[in-house]
Symmetry: C2
Subunit: 164 residues, 2 copies
């Protein structure tokens, strides 16, 4: 049983790390000026999507029972509110640092999880409900956040080649 669980966890982590590395590399290659552009006319800016992904990944820490958020102040401007809602965003260099910190903390925490831990409930489902819905586990959060990340990766890539 545990062998098979390990295989499944590897599948989930490989997919997550694949998109996380691609997206991190993409943000690294974009200049601060490029990040200020909209990914498509009238759509979100690169800087908003950067903060959005950091905030969503930061919120995985409590959701997976791995600790408190590092930057809870990002939730309002980058998750609850849309881009261009009047918030002053952190400058790009600050977000570049936050990206590294949040994803490093996640990676360190993931390394402490056993395969059984990954198949245990996440923190938004009760023990009661989890008995009937065992798919609502931590690994499912990772799968879901991987697709979310991929959907925004496909947008941020449009900033490549935009004027610096």
């Amino acid at each position: 049983m545990n062998d098979m669980k390990n295989v499944m966890v590897k599948m989930g982590l490989d997919a997550w790390n694949g998109y996380l590395n691609r997206t991190g590399k993409l943000f690294d290659e974009l200049s601060d000026e490029q990040l200020n552009n909209e990914v498509s006319p009238g759509r979100n800016t690169g800087i908003y999507l950067y903060g959005h992904l950091i905030a969503v990944h930061d919120s995985m820490l409590p959701l997976l029972g791995l600790g408190e958020k590092l930057y809870p102040e990002l939730e309002q401007p980058f998750i609850k509110d849309a881009d261009k809602s009047g918030h002053t965003f952190p400058v790009a260099s600050v977000l570049r640092n936050y990206w590294k910190e949040v994803n490093a903390k996640l990676a360190t925490a993931f390394a402490t999880l056993s395969a059984d831990d990954w198949f245990a409930r996440h923190m938004s489902v009760s023990e009661e409900d989890f008995k009937n819905e065992p798919h609502r586990n931590k690994l499912n959060v990772l799968l879901s956040r991987t697709s979310h990340l991929a959907s925004h990766y496909g947008q941020v890539v449009f900033l490549q080649g935009k004027s610096e």
Copy 2:
């Protein structure tokens, strides 16, 4: 063991069906004229991404050992070649039908797979290699194609609100 495999298969299928339904609904709501627009200036057109996703999903049939491709002629214009390579694409109404046919065939075939089948090798890995790399299974193909679909969903959504 099989209980856990079933849970994992449900996780994978839920994620796939979630993005597939969202993307199918999005294409349905876009007019033929909107599909002719680029998703962002200088980027792929909606019609190219429509054909690309159909062709990639069609190629899942042989890769998962579920049969031959329905529309092998889509591979050259929509996978091997980039948009604007000089191909005359099928008109939108034809692609709308192809989308339904390919995804219906996949859904029917998926329904025949047991949890053990999903954890068996896909057709691009040898039995020999699979012994050492058991994550290279059919379910992993589904996870990978879900992220691929999500990355393009995030782009096609930009066609909403474009001029008809």
